[in-house]
Subunit: 235 residues, 2 copies
């Protein structure tokens, strides 16, 4: 069958090695899972079992799961019903001799999945110049659209919850306009644009508030002239 070439099976990297024929065709994998009777893939945690039961046992032990049977604690566990009751499946794993000591701790990510291949990483279109230009451009857009002027000290009031939400909404809108002024951002597909903004919206809000409040003492100034102080809350 046309097995797909994987990363380290590049023909140029391998000498023509004949697949070794196992003498007598003694396939050790013709056994059945001791838990669910599916085809076994070897010994797992001390028991001949399938990949499904292997994974199920590992996950259950790692998370120290306590399942409950909704029936009489005697559910049948076979390939088709093995997901019906996790209590009985796990019980059968232990009964069959699976040892939870054989489950190891989580390892580091390997992530050769997405090999990233030491790509030089295209940094064209990423410069402080462009960021500054985007900053200016977005500030223009925002000032015309939102009609915001410099925050007036006289306007300051202690922020209510609504003020906080309101300023977050406003700042997030500004964030989007700003991002759209960065050429490299626009080269991303829409999904990636959204994901990028979503994941780092928190950092942006924080950085904005930090900058805005850098010369103040004892309180944080939000984008809508309300301030957050220690402990106090606006009415």
């Amino acid at each position: 069958m046309g097995k797909k070439l994987t990363f380290n099976e590049d023909p140029r990297l391998l000498s023509e090695r004949e697949p070794r024929l196992s003498p007598g065709d003694t396939s050790p994998l013709n056994q059945l899972c001791a838990i669910c009777n599916d085809k076994a893939t070897g010994k797992h945690y001390n028991v001949i079992s399938c990949d499904g039961c292997k994974g199920f046992f590992r996950r259950s032990v790692r998370k120290n799961q306590k399942y409950a049977c909704r029936y009489g604690r005697s559910c049948t566990v076979d390939r088709e019903k093995r997901n019906h009751c996790r209590y009985c499946r796990l019980k059968k794993c232990f009964r069959a001799g699976m040892r939870k000591e054989a489950v190891q701790n989580e390892r580091d990510r390997i992530s050769s999945r997405r090999p990233s291949f030491e790509e030089p990483a295209d940094v064209s279109g990423l410069s402080v110049q462009l960021l500054l230009r985007a900053e200016l451009a977005s500030r223009q857009i925002d000032s015309t659209r939102l009609g915001s002027r410099e925050a007036d000290v006289a306007d300051r009031r202690v922020a209510t919850h609504a003020d906080v939400f309101d300023s977050m909404k406003q700042q997030l809108l500004i964030l989007v306009e700003w991002a759209k002024c960065i050429p490299a951002f626009l080269q991303l597909c829409l999904e990636d644009q959204i994901a990028l903004l979503r994941t780092h919206a928190g950092e942006h809000l924080l950085l904005g508030a930090s900058w805005r409040s850098r010369h103040l003492h004892g309180f944080v100034l939000l984008g809508n002239s309300s301030v957050v102080t220690r402990g106090a809350q606006g009415k």
Copy 2:
């Protein structure tokens, strides 16, 4: 060749699982539902389709539904009209290649998605007082452990990449010590503690650098007395 024939490859169940993609083989998932043309979320029951059609097919097969068309059995099925005629929608699912064998049996119950909606949210043990106390406590620990003194202006140098990584590592260790001084944090289970710190490590680093640099102009001061300037990079 003896390819494994297990659960998903059982001819009665479906899903020819493709071998893992080799690098470079990007599948952007920007495809459309073969049934209704909505945005697809992957292959479902063997057909590139949307979540709506996926759920519709599963429910229909599980309950062995027999629908009837009230028109001419040739209704158009698209994003807007897909719910107009179940008969034609299901027919189109099968025509597109959805396999009812791929619909599995009901499984065990899983943990509740929204564990308890509007619970009063326990805020005892969450106060500015406690945070300030934690700040002081962690500062003591850090100063004895890391022997850090106030950053000396004379030590300042333009940060190399190594300086940046080094300061991040240092700040993250400080972050952990700080969190461990917050009583409410210690009440979380270890997994939640880790998750919380991981997700918001970025914000903490940002906030730390912002505070440290609040009176500086044109550069950011890192925790190890190195500074990041615009454009310049330490040798």
